[in-house]
Every structure is written in structure tokens, then in C-alpha cells.
Subunit: 281 residues, 6 copies
Amino acid sequence: MITPAMAALIDLALEEDLGRGDVTSEAVLAAEATAGGAIIAKQRLVLFGVEIAEAVFRRVDVGIRFVRRAGDGEELSPGDVVATVDGPARAVLGAERTALNFLQRLSGIATLSRAFVRAVEGTRATVVDTRKTAPGWRALDKAAVRAGGAANHRADLASGILIKDNHIAACGSVGEAVRRARRQAPHGLRVEVEVSTLAALDEALAAGAEVLLLDNVAPQQAREMVERAAGRALIEVSGGVRLSTVRAYAEAGVDRISAGALTHSAPAVDLSLEIEVRSAG
Amino acid sequence: MITPAMAALIDLALEEDLGRGDVTSEAVLAAEATAGGAIIAKQRLVLFGVEIAEAVFRRVDVGIRFVRRAGDGEELSPGDVVATVDGPARAVLGAERTALNFLQRLSGIATLSRAFVRAVEGTRATVVDTRKTAPGWRALDKAAVRAGGAANHRADLASGILIKDNHIAACGSVGEAVRRARRQAPHGLRVEVEVSTLAALDEALAAGAEVLLLDNVAPQQAREMVERAAGRALIEVSGGVRLSTVRAYAEAGVDRISAGALTHSAPAVDLSLEIEVRSAG
Amino acid sequence: MITPAMAALIDLALEEDLGRGDVTSEAVLAAEATAGGAIIAKQRLVLFGVEIAEAVFRRVDVGIRFVRRAGDGEELSPGDVVATVDGPARAVLGAERTALNFLQRLSGIATLSRAFVRAVEGTRATVVDTRKTAPGWRALDKAAVRAGGAANHRADLASGILIKDNHIAACGSVGEAVRRARRQAPHGLRVEVEVSTLAALDEALAAGAEVLLLDNVAPQQAREMVERAAGRALIEVSGGVRLSTVRAYAEAGVDRISAGALTHSAPAVDLSLEIEVRSAG
Amino acid sequence: MITPAMAALIDLALEEDLGRGDVTSEAVLAAEATAGGAIIAKQRLVLFGVEIAEAVFRRVDVGIRFVRRAGDGEELSPGDVVATVDGPARAVLGAERTALNFLQRLSGIATLSRAFVRAVEGTRATVVDTRKTAPGWRALDKAAVRAGGAANHRADLASGILIKDNHIAACGSVGEAVRRARRQAPHGLRVEVEVSTLAALDEALAAGAEVLLLDNVAPQQAREMVERAAGRALIEVSGGVRLSTVRAYAEAGVDRISAGALTHSAPAVDLSLEIEVRSAG
Amino acid sequence: MITPAMAALIDLALEEDLGRGDVTSEAVLAAEATAGGAIIAKQRLVLFGVEIAEAVFRRVDVGIRFVRRAGDGEELSPGDVVATVDGPARAVLGAERTALNFLQRLSGIATLSRAFVRAVEGTRATVVDTRKTAPGWRALDKAAVRAGGAANHRADLASGILIKDNHIAACGSVGEAVRRARRQAPHGLRVEVEVSTLAALDEALAAGAEVLLLDNVAPQQAREMVERAAGRALIEVSGGVRLSTVRAYAEAGVDRISAGALTHSAPAVDLSLEIEVRSAG
Amino acid sequence: MITPAMAALIDLALEEDLGRGDVTSEAVLAAEATAGGAIIAKQRLVLFGVEIAEAVFRRVDVGIRFVRRAGDGEELSPGDVVATVDGPARAVLGAERTALNFLQRLSGIATLSRAFVRAVEGTRATVVDTRKTAPGWRALDKAAVRAGGAANHRADLASGILIKDNHIAACGSVGEAVRRARRQAPHGLRVEVEVSTLAALDEALAAGAEVLLLDNVAPQQAREMVERAAGRALIEVSGGVRLSTVRAYAEAGVDRISAGALTHSAPAVDLSLEIEVRSAG
């Protein structure tokens, strides 16, 4: 679904690039010229964003034909076709950059997510994202993570309880913070709390914590805390986890590994629209 | 200036994260609690985005005090303070992630741009960006590039003429494309055209091209074309230029080097809000 | 916080009422006339919406002085003052109806919620709302429920898992549905599932359900299911619960009672702005 | 017509409920599953809102088939079908609650309006609404009133002159207020003025008032004022009129009876979407 | 009041001009430079739009000081000062054109309206506008008309009944159309109907028409119809009325003369911002 | 293309006119009535705006059939058909005024632009527009200018460098201002600078100016400056150029003549929708 927020983002994107016209195409192409082409992968990648790319082309001109040739989550090799596009040349060229900008960023996230998922294969750990998404892109970034095979942490501040250091300090103790959350927060939410010592872990569990977040711990510490928890809560680690270190955490026995890098630092993948402009006729 | 499009992006960002409330803070913090803290650099970085971060905090609560302690374009070291923040604890914590997400992405772009600029120091080349920005972020991404010391290519499809392969093919020849652009496009715009051979270069210059774009050429080819052009036009190279290769192009004597990576693949920098929640009083 | 969505709703509201001017005030009041007055409770009520009422007045004219005299969640009697308002007469009268429309609906929800909460006092049950809010008003309606002393069920479709009949039928069994949800959904969410028989209850618990929803059951059935669950899961009842029947459910020992009526059928409370127009001077 | 403001309200509503996805359906239903069903009346009601319900489903997914089976203003009995819906299961379930929330509130208004209209049958009185509509819902609420058979008072502050106590006090007298309005206001608008005594009534008529508003009068007073006006102006009564008292006012001979309750306190009617999820095929 | 629709128009206007920055000022002015100046009338004019001009400057930078020196509706001579402006140079220059574009168009409407009003002085006729306003500018255009001293016809399709040829043809007769309108339309609206013959005029009056619109009639015809109506209804003429012909209509004895030209063809007036850029310090 | 900003303007326009309904059509026309008709030129004109007029009708009701019978830029005579329209009568009449308001203003601009273009035929001069467009209408106004045969100056403050008096004063000299612009501004933009003396002209050229703007000069002065420039830069004149004076400037040998009047003072052209309402059947 293209949500209202996504539609608003598409509008911002088209307005910022095409809102005052395309002086080049208007100067050199006939109004009646048509163009056809294909969006092609130029590197190995995991695809995500085809629906939004299609929405971009069709927002520019509903007469553009867009045929999907690959699906979200699919792994593509250089030369593989993502979709074909056909329509008025000025419209196709006018939408091109915006559509590719969406696809390249989102597929970049899916591709990096897939790499993290591969890195933990065979362990009990699930890779999850964070709220470190590009402002305005939350639902898209998180859908790209899913397309890559990783899972989502909370969608927003209302869809998960996560008690951090500041909350704990303000409450006086881990236990008090957990108890307040269990009493006050919507009953469909588990209580997750950051712990950094075994004592805090014990206190959190005693107060009813259901998920423990180990922030910025070394794999060895994570293993000790997993053992101490002994299955009484889900264990998540976070904090600067990279592709090179993720497996060590996974092998420590944690349940979830969250990585902000999936969404805030995934390099764009290379995709291009190879196109031919035709005269009208 | 926070443009209307930037304000719309801030609204999308706050709505997607905080629109349904913050269940954790509402459950564990008193409504009257206040919080104060500082945004701190956790790595070396070039800063950009302080104005938008401030706008985020103040959009959540106009009663938040935000004091800038560093300026856009400034180079910071780990531990340096970007700004201090003080206000109602729920508001400060509610705005935190969104403000940091803006700052981390934009400072990432500024930081990478600075690295590119450093890499070409002493040559005649200027590093410039492209239209490969995050959809919805065009003006912000390009301002971050400037903060990093690089320059902007065209802002949108209306603020620069760039005749590419497809346009040339549709016109029949480089010369014809350039002539049409000179005749039809707004007179404040130079005519830039993609050329890949010396013959095309000659033809483009004869037709009045003012900027030549060499796309996906090796540095040695670039040098030959620079020599052939002999100052009759500005020369830009583009296409997969990286930090490791940018100097070779600069030494080939080109005037402009455009790099999509500045905006589409800059990793986020590490910044955090270190905060203390206080009881009201 | 006035979220972006709330600001958009305020804009829709002012535009629909005042966007083309106020022909009466413009015809009969001098432009310089000022007005002052007070928003007064005309019945017993629980207040909610003072912040948004203030935002309405100040959106019409930032020069209006609005002084809060009562707080959200407070119980007022006829004649009690909610707030005082002072400013240009045309602006005060132009904002009046919209501000009151917000206050009357939201205080209506808070008032009805308080009545439900009172009705279950002394039991273990917590009254909760549903997603049956006025479209466009979700965050406001749910905040009004909290002001009334009741609690919120999930904020949206992303902040709670609720497996209903249709989902179960599509999965083949209650157990399979619960297992899929535990495997696939964000780990911060408990799994809630609708059950209508003791067999389904057993199957759901065996599969790991954490909350059981008893939809459209009689209090006696609810009691039996509470006993069978024996504390292994939270128990919620829903379905046409009214003020007259809510206590019977509470006494059946359930943990949560959800009532759509809190938000979809709360009558507006009676509040008025008693005002005096003064000549300028 | 779905006006721009209605489209904006639909967008707010879908974004607040579905903008971050539907974790339950995504976890337990296959992406290819389809669903079909019918919106069914669960009580006697007067229908309104079918067009907007359809718009909601189709905004979520244009591939949803929505077939209207009953029309606005129609009286339905329990079990009657409002419309049938068919499409991708996740989309149908994702739109369900929002579409029903619109239908239930709007049909509630139409149903209550019809009851008021029935209550005054055989008299000269027409039941009319007020501006006490849910902020953001003005045009919808007023259309629901019409569907119920009642009439609309002014749409906004620009589409009717209504001189109230404050205006009169500011002008010095009823007569002066009426004269100013006749001189200054758009000529297509009748001048309506609040009067509470026979002397004021005489003064208003002498000054050219075309409609007299009797606010918070007893039926007997209304009758006396109707007689005194003797057809020289339309007579409207307002102020806390209820279903139980409306006929007494109508029998007093007034022309219009306005009731805020039609829009601010109509309980939602009971409607449900009975649905079956199918595997794809 | 800057209504939500006006704020949206300001945002569109600033985004379209300044959304991608001001390359000239950014290239040649220091970021710290300040500027001060005055908006000056360059011709005789009637002023309107000072509030929206101020809103434009302050939307660009809240730090700009804007001091009103003349009021809406005031007649200015060349050299008169409308307002003074002071603030950051880039902001002042960036807002200049948009603010002037609002002022020049709106003052153009006020100026032309004043000329029409002058032309009918001493007659009973009031000059009124039409719905032929610039799309997006309705409330502004109509306020400019009032500032010029003319009056407003209906604000929109909901704030006035105007039965035209097509409606009459669809109803079968003038009388039937008027009767339907009296029966069905909101009771605060007078019934206005287009008539072109004396027979139609009689029929309309008999059916209860309160305003008669004579469309595209010569002054002499207008006079005959005024005489025939003999005060039983307000008489409006419309249709291609110009400054050169408006008095003839006024002298025919009509009550209202509507002229689309007031809003659709008023030439912009000449105003400029005379400014001095200062270094910071 | 209907850009997002144009769609927003259409929404503002429909909401302001039709957002609260059409009381006349709702009162006198049956809901099922249909209407058909044609948009007809009532004077000689150059057409522009057919696409946006179509978008208006279809935004009101997608079931309206709109058939274009003339194209943008076409010269029409009285009686010529622009388009035919067919659909539900209330929808057609509800959209009529807004669609015509767009067409009449935009065709007015195209018509005046054509007149300017005709006036300079046979000279080297091209007529260009300015940024003096109606706020919110930039892209539309400029497209209308092109339809009239004139050319566009810069689209916004980012798509052209134009150094004016204030910039020069702030820089200290014309030469310094030009040098800063060449160094700092995007390389795809030519440097245009205002000059008013031969000395300034020489200095600007020496510094690398590519376009010279002669503001408020007499034709004879323009001729002298053209001769002095001797082809080393494009020459533009601006400042109060009218249809009666434009040829004198063109004959002075300038390259571009910019006229704000094209967009800020073009009178609307006369177009009407001649329509027939039919009963349903």
C-alpha cells in the first residue's frame, strides 16, 4: 500500500525535482516523442521499492505503462530487469531520477539487511532494525528491512516499550521503571528494558521485564547475560553492531540483534533506467 | 531557512515517530519532569543540520530551550558539543530520535563531502553533487554538501540544462541537440552536454556548448578531452567517482567532478543526546 | 503536544468554519472591538481538550490571551471555569465554535470514560478503549480516554497484535495463528487472540498466547474462561459492553474490558463561552 | 463528491491507523490471500456514508471491488447488506475499521436526524442542524443530517447571518444590529437575529430582520412569539431541544427547530463487516 | 486572520520561488549581512495585503522586523511608505518578490474596486464582486474588494442561492425553480434568480424570489425591470460591466452591480521594496 | 503534467468554492440529472489551461467525460469550442466556475504574451516573463507564457543568477559581484548582472558577465549599450515595458525583453461553458 505519508513523500520528491519543469527535455524533445526502456540492476542486490517506483512514474503521467519484472525481496544480478517503462518521453525522463532515487536507497537497505541475515544464519538470533530511519521514510525503510529478511523493532514510540537509562534514572531503579511500565502502558506491549549489569538483569526480571536490551556490550558479556537470564526473557543486543561483528553476538546466544546501520548507513545500490526515445507516430 | 518543504518533512517525521504518543515516557516519567542535556559528537565529523534539529525540538514543544554550540560546516571531534537542550522531559525524549536522525544523515553528507574536497586540494577541480538525493530531502542534502565545502550541480530539472545520450539520440546529433537547447531554454542557463568522443566534443563546441560532461571515462581519457577542449568550455566528469579515484580525475585537469555518492551513500555519523531527567520543581 | 496530525485537524476545522470569513461579526462589530470571557462548564463533566482549545484560539489570532483555569482530567461542576479568553472580538468569536466543538466532544469522552472507571472500582479490571475513534481524531480520542482514567488498547494496527476470527480461519487453527504471530511480529508486542471456547483457550495458551480476547460473551462465560486460564494470560472482554453491564464483567475476574462506546458514542458535554464584547480603546 | 477536505480527512484516518502497517495481518496472512464479505446492519438505522466508505477501501487498494447495495438515506434493518467488498485480504482488513468508523458515526447522525424528523411530522416545523459538528467533519456531518431528512442551518460563518446576544450588546440595540447587518452583509443572506422578549421581537422586525431565533425558550413562550411575529419573519427555536421535547416546540408553530444533538451527540450505529479470507488462487 | 488556506498559499508561493535557495544572494552576500528598507508605492493606489506581506516575510525568517506604515483600504500616492522591513539580507531579499507579488495583485483589486465605487457614487447601487477570483485566492480577492469599498457577492456555492438559466431549464419554469429553492435550501439564504424578461420577473416574484439577477441586459432594460419590480425584490445586474459603463447601470436604479473584472482583470499596481544591504556588525 | 503544487492549488480552489456544497444545485436539480455542454471562446484568444481544466472537472467527479477540442497555444475565435463536457449535472455545474477561472486567467496570459511576441516579429528580440507571477501559480503562469510564444526567464531564485543593485552595493563593485557569482554559483548558470552605465557594462564584461540586464532604460540608451557590448554578452531590457513600447526596445537590438505585465496584469479572456441539463434516464 502507498500510505498517505508515502504519497506525501512522493509529492515532495516530484515537486522538488520536476515542479518547475524539465528545461532540457522541453527544449530538445518533441512533446509527442515517446520513450521505452528498462530499469536494470548494475550490481548484485536485493530489490525493494518497485511499488513506489511505479507510483512515481504514474504520478507523473498515468499514461505510463510500468510492468514489474522482479519482486520485492528478490536477489538480482547485474543485467537483470526490474521493470519496463513506456510512455511519453518527457514524462518518462522527468520521473526517472526520482523513481531511481527511491529504488536505489530502498534496495540498498534490503541488500545490507540480507547480508546481516546471512551472517547470522544457523544461530537463534534475528536481526532487527531500529528507529534510525531517514525522517519521512519510516514505513518505507522498515519495509525494505523486511524485504531483506530481517525483522522490525518497534515502528514508533507508541508500538513498543523500551525503558532506557534516562527512564531508569528518573524512576530511581530498574525495578521501579519496569513496574510502572507494566502498570501504565497498553497491555498489548511487552516491557523491554535496558540492563548493563547482572544485578540490573536480575532486578528487571524480578519486576516482570519481558525483553532485556543489552546496549553496547561485548559478545562475551552478552553471553554471560544470556546465561543468567536462562530463557526468562528475550535478549536483545544493540550498539554499533556491524556486519563484521554481528556473528559474534549471534553466537553469544542472544535472540535479537538490532543494527541502526541497516537503515542509516546502507550505501545505495546501482540501478539504471536504460531507455530509448522514439519519435511519435 | 526552514522552507515549506522542510517543514512538511519535519511533520512527516514527527508524525511517523511520535504521532500516537510515546508509551514509555508516558508510563514511567511524571508529566512535570524536566530534562536537560547536550548533543555530543561521538566521532570526527563535519556538522550540518543544527537549524533543522532545533526546529524539530521546538516543533514538539516551543518551550524547549535549544542553544547552538557549534555551527554548520564546523569540524568536530569526539566529545564536542553540538548544542544543549532543556525542557519538559517527555518532549525532549520524544523529539530526540527525530532530531538526531536529521543531524546524523546530514552531517554524514557534509563529512563525506569534506573528504572529497580534501582529496582534490591543490587542483583546479571542484567537487559537485548530483540529483541523487534522498527523495524529499533535496534542499537539505544539497545544503549539507555545501557545508562540507563541495559545490552544487543543478538543484532540479529546471535549473540546469544537461543533454544526455537519450536527448542526443532523439535529436539525431550532438550539434542539433545543443542548438535546440540554446534556442529554446531559458537564457540564464548554460548548455551542458554529455560527450564521449573527441568528435562529439568538437561538434558540441562548434554548436555552442558551454559545459561538457564526460560520463564514465577513465582519467586518461578525461585528460585528452580537457586538452582538446583547450579552455573553450568547462569540463565535468561523472560516473562512479569514489574517494579513492577522485584525485586522479582532478589531476586530469577537469573543472568539475560530480559524485552521487556524496548524497546517496554517505554513512551516518555518530552523534548522541546525553541527557539527564530531573523531577519537576 | 499538538502533533502534526492534530494541527492538520485544527486547520481543517478552522478552514471549514471560518475560511471564508464571519459575515455577522464583520458586519456588526468594529474591527477594533475586543472581547473577553470565560469557558464555563454547564454540567458535571471530566475535562479534556484545554490544550487543543487554546491552540484553536491562538491559531486564529496569536494575540488572544488564553489562561487555563482547570486541567485535563479534572472534574468540574456547573459554573466552573475552564479558561479565560481575551482578544480582538472578531477573532474570539470566530474561534469560539471550533474550540468548543473540540472541548465538548473530548470532554464527553473523558466524562463517559470516568463513569466506566467508577463502575468497576474495587475489581481487578481496567477499562480500555478500542480503535472505534472518530477518523482523524485517534490520538485525541485516546488521550481523552486516559484523562478519564481508563487505559488505551493499541494505538493503531502496528502497535498491537490482535488475532481475530478471520485470521484464525485463514490459518486453519488458533494455535497456528498464534505461532505465526509469535514468529513474525515485532518482538515488543504481546500476542493477543480472540477465543470463544474453552478448547480454543487451551490451544491458544499452548501456542504461547499472552492475552486472550473474549468477544461477545456473557459475564458467566467470562468467569469460566478466567478460571480456566488461571493466570496464564491476561483476559480481555469486549463486545457491546455498556455502563449498565460493565461491572458484571469486571466481577467475572477479567483483566481488561474494552468498550467502543467510550469513543464512538459519548454524548458531548455542555460547555459555553460567556463573553463580553468591548469597544476598542 | 469527495471534497479535498474529505480526502484530507480520509488520509489522516488511514495514516493514523494503518500508516505503520498491520502487524497482525502481515504476520498471519499470506500476501496473496484474498477476502470477500459484506457490510451488514446490526440494528435499525438510516444509512449515510457509503461513498466515503468506498473511498476508504479504494484509497487503501484500488483493486478492491466495492459494490453498493443500499443508498444514502435508506432505512435498514438488522441483517440488511450495505455493500459487498472483495480484494486482497490484507488491504480489506486494513481498511475495515476506518471505513466502519466513518459509516457508524455518519449513519448515527442520519438515524438520529430521522427520529427528530418523525417526531415533528404533521407540523410546519423543519428540524435543522447547527455548527456543532465534529471539527474536520462539517460537510460530512451536514450531509448525514440531510440524509436523515432534516435540513441544514448555515454551513459556516460565511453562509448565514446570525446576530447573537454579544453582537447586540456591542451594537447597543437589536435594531441597530439588524440595520448594520442589512447594510453590510452580502445581499444573498437573510438577517437572522436572536430575540428573547416581545419588545426585542418587535424591534427586530421593524429593523428588517427576516428570521428570528428564540434561544432557550419554553414552548409556550415560543408560541406567543410566533403569534406576535404573525408571519412577518421565519421563527427558529434552539437550545437544548431533545427528541422528547421537539414536538412541543413544533406544535408551538415555529418554522425551524435547530438541535446540536443531531451532530454532537448521536450515538454510533452498529454495523459490521462480515468477511471470509481465502487463500490466493 | 491568515486562514489555513492562506497559509497553504503562502507555502506554495515560497516553495515555488525560494524552495531550492537563492543562488545569487548565497553567492554574493555574506551570511551575516543585514538589510533594511521600505515598501514604497510607485503609483496612486488603494492598499490591500499588508498582513499577508508581513506573514510572507516572517515565514521566511521570524527574525525579520516588519512595521506597518499604512493600512488596508488606505489610498496612497507615489512615494508613500507601506511598511518598513529589516532583517538578515538573504531572508529579506528571498521574501521580497513573493511579498510584493501578493501586495501588487491584491492592491490592484482594491484599486480597481475603489474606482468602480467612485463611479457609482450618489446612486443607490452597490458594486459587488463575483466568484471569478483566482483559484486558491478566493478569501484574499474578496477581502481586497472590501478594502476597495465594494461589497461581496456570495463567498462560495454554499453561501448564496443563485438560480441560473440551466437550473430554470431543468426545472421547467422560473417559478418552479424558485419554489424548489425556497423549500429545500438553508433558510438563512435569500433566493436569487436570473430573469431576462418581464414575464419571468413577474413569475419569479410571484414564487417568492427575493433577489433578481438581470444578466447581460442594457441599462435601459434594467431600468424597465427595476420599475416593474417596484421594490418587491433587490435587483442585481451583471455581465460585462466595465468602469466606463457601470454608472449607466447605477442610474438605472438597480441595487447591486456585479463585476467579474474586479478580481479577474485588475492590473497589478506598482510597488517596490527599496532596500539597503549592510554588512553584519 | 499536473505537478503536486498544481494539484494542491486545484484542491484549494475546489475547497474554497465547493467544499461546503452547492446549495442551488442541490435544491433545484435532481441527483440523477446529467448535463452536457461545451466550453466556448467568446473573444479572440490564445488558449492555455485545457489540461488543468480537465483535471478540475475530473477531480470533482471522475465520471465526467471531458473531450479536448483545441490545444494549448491555439488561437481561437469567438464561438470556437475548447472542449466538451458531459456528466452528472451537479458535478458539472459545481466544477464549472473553478475550471473557467483557471482557463480564463491562463489564456489571458497566453493571449497577452502572443501580442507581445507579434509586436517584436522580425527583430532579434525574444520576449520573456519575470517572477511577477501570482503566488501559487508560478509553473502555470510560466507555461501560459510559453503557450503564447514568449520565453521564460528563470523559474525561481535557484535557476538563474541575477545580480541587482543591492547585491552590487553590498559587494562594493559590479566587477566584484560578478566574480563572486562566477566562483560560487552552480556552474550550469550564466551570470546575469544589472548595469546602468557604460562603465558598469565594461566592468561587468571584464569580470565575465554573460548576460547584462538594462533596467529602466530608454530605447536609445539600450541601443548604445547594445553597441558597446558588441556581442560579448546577451542583452536584456526590463522595467515597465508595455505593448506600446516593446517594439522600440526590440529595434534597439536587445536580445531579451522581460515584461512583468505578461503575468501580473493580463486581463482574463472571456470563455463560457454552455450547457444543457438533462433529466436522468
